[in-house]
């Protein structure tokens, strides 16, 4: 007895049971049978043909009209069979692409995100989640021998694989200029040159670069068209904006990046983010920057890492677990 005959027997027995009892129990069995058929990649016209054969065998004397109607139904299902088989073929091609992207995303993860600094004076938290598998946001901390901590956060305009390629470029361009770590504006100027020369003219990168000096607790920073961060003043319990002036990387040949600085007291916080955080879209519309601030404020008692995790989870939920843009949120808080 071949496969088709075995299937037909089983199908016929469930169907005739249903015709007898019309019970939910039997329908459930039928559905489980259909699940199996799908697992065995039986196409929809084949499934309908099984039904037709079962009916013909159960009612050998059925009126000719019904026989003819079945022939018509089968004819119609062949088109669905076409689509179904195309699906199988696309799926296997896609599986391979997904595997490749998975590997590339892991590579990117190890490549881009280095170790978190451990400086006595700073409590640091970071979360970065790609909207799809590959991240077009980027952050990086470097701690030097004097406990100075540099922090970079960047966002490629564009997502997915091209953005990820672009990001790995930025990473190596930064690694190749260690002497510029100490000067945010020079760092951005240098990166602008790399991006301007090497990257597709339609691809732009926004970036914020800062340096925290643990000796005098001063934060030096410059920005290249990046989403402004926040500064939390613990004494006044007040959030302000970390505004910077400077063109997006890759637009102009010789842009000017202004350098700013901010002194931190104990409990003060630097909050850096990408526009994926502020452009979260909930069912009630875009999320306002004020709402982000409110979320952070109501979690101030937590550690920096716990704060960013909590904000991420809340925003993820508000968007029904579908990120529309890569999401990166960093917090640096002066501890002592």
């Amino acid at each position: 007895m071949d496969d088709r005959e075995i299937q037909l027997r089983r199908y016929k027995s469930i169907l005739s049971k249903y015709l007898d009892d019309q019970s939910e129990q039997t329908l459930y069995k039928g559905q489980q049978f259909s699940r199996k058929m799908i697992e065995q990649k039986i196409s929809p016209e084949e499934a309908v043909s099984l039904h037709v054969s079962a009916m013909e065998s159960l009612y050998p004397d059925m009126p000719q009209e019904f026989k003819n109607s079945y022939a018509f139904l089968l004819e119609m299902m062949i088109g669905y069979g076409f689509a179904y088989r195309e699906h199988q073929s696309l799926r296997s091609r896609q599986q391979q692409l997904e595997t490749e992207i998975e590997i590339a995303a892991n590579m990117q993860q190890t490549l881009l995100m280095g170790e978190m600094p451990t400086v006595e004076s700073l409590d640091i938290g970071a979360v970065s989640k790609p909207a799809k598998k590959m991240n077009g946001d980027y952050y990086h901390f470097v701690q030097d021998e004097n406990d100075c901590v540099s922090v970079a956060i960047a966002d490629v305009i564009g997502k997915g694989i091209p953005a990820a390629l672009c990001m790995s470029m930025i990473k190596y361009a930064m690694d190749s200029a260690p002497e510029q770590r100490m000067q945010p504006s020079a760092m951005l100027g240098n990166l602008n040159r790399v991006v301007e020369q090497n990257v597709d003219p339609n691809m732009f990168i926004t970036m914020f670069y800062g340096l925290y000096d643990s000796f005098n607790h001063r934060f030096y920073y410059s920005g290249a068209g990046h989403e402004p961060g926040f500064f939390y003043n613990a004494e006044n319990d007040d959030f302000g904006e970390l505004y910077t002036k400077g063109l997006v990387l890759g637009v102009s040949k010789k842009p000017n990046y202004r350098e700013y600085s901010k002194d931190l007291q104990k409990g003060d916080m630097i909050v850096l983010l990408s526009d994926g955080v502020t452009e979260c879209r909930s069912s009630k519309g875009f999320i306002e920057r004020d709402e982000i601030v409110a979320m952070i404020r109501s979690n101030l008692h937590l550690s920096a890492q716990e704060i960013v995790n909590t904000v991420y989870r809340e925003l993820e939920k508000m968007q029904e677990f579908e990120l529309r843009d890569d999401f990166t949120l960093l917090i640096l808080r002066r501890k002592v």
């Binding site: 559905q31 799926r91 599986q95």
Partner: protein
């Protein structure tokens, strides 16, 4: 909103029971036969998930009547291990696929509204609604 039925899911029999309740309510509310089958399939998948991954839980079915719109709502809840990465579960899966088990994304597509809430070690609650057209 009126809760019409609440089925405790502990074994496969209970899955059938939940399906039956859902089908009856869907029929009463005036859903057509395809939508009845879709709603039943959604309930089936949700109940199976509870049975397979949480051990036990429940399926609550209620009817909605909001400003003239009539709908059927399913609430599937359990105190099981919860879902660690909801985004992953809501992705169109390859691992599960081939089988019916497009799982939760499939349920979402069968219904009109869908929301999920889950905490690790606390449990999962899924609320999903189909409106009568």
């Amino acid at each position: 909103m009126n809760i019409q039925s609440c089925v405790e899911v502990r074994n496969e029999w209970d899955i059938v029971k939940a399906r039956q309740e859902g089908r009856n309510i869907a029929k009463e509310l005036g859903f057509g036969s395809v939508d009845q089958a879709r709603i039943t399939t959604a309930i089936s998948e949700l109940a199976r998930n509870i049975y397979l991954y949480a051990g036990k839980g429940r399926i609550e079915i209620s009817n909605l009547d909001s400003s003239g719109k009539i709908g059927l709502r399913i609430i599937a809840s359990d105190d099981g291990p919860g879902i660690k990465d909801i985004r992953k579960v809501m992705e169109d899966g390859f691992t599960t696929s081939g089988g019916l088990g497009a799982g939760l994304p499939g349920v979402k597509r069968l219904m009109d509204e869908f929301s999920i809430d889950s905490k690790e070690n606390e449990g999962t609650e899924i609320i999903t609604t189909k409106w009568l057209r």
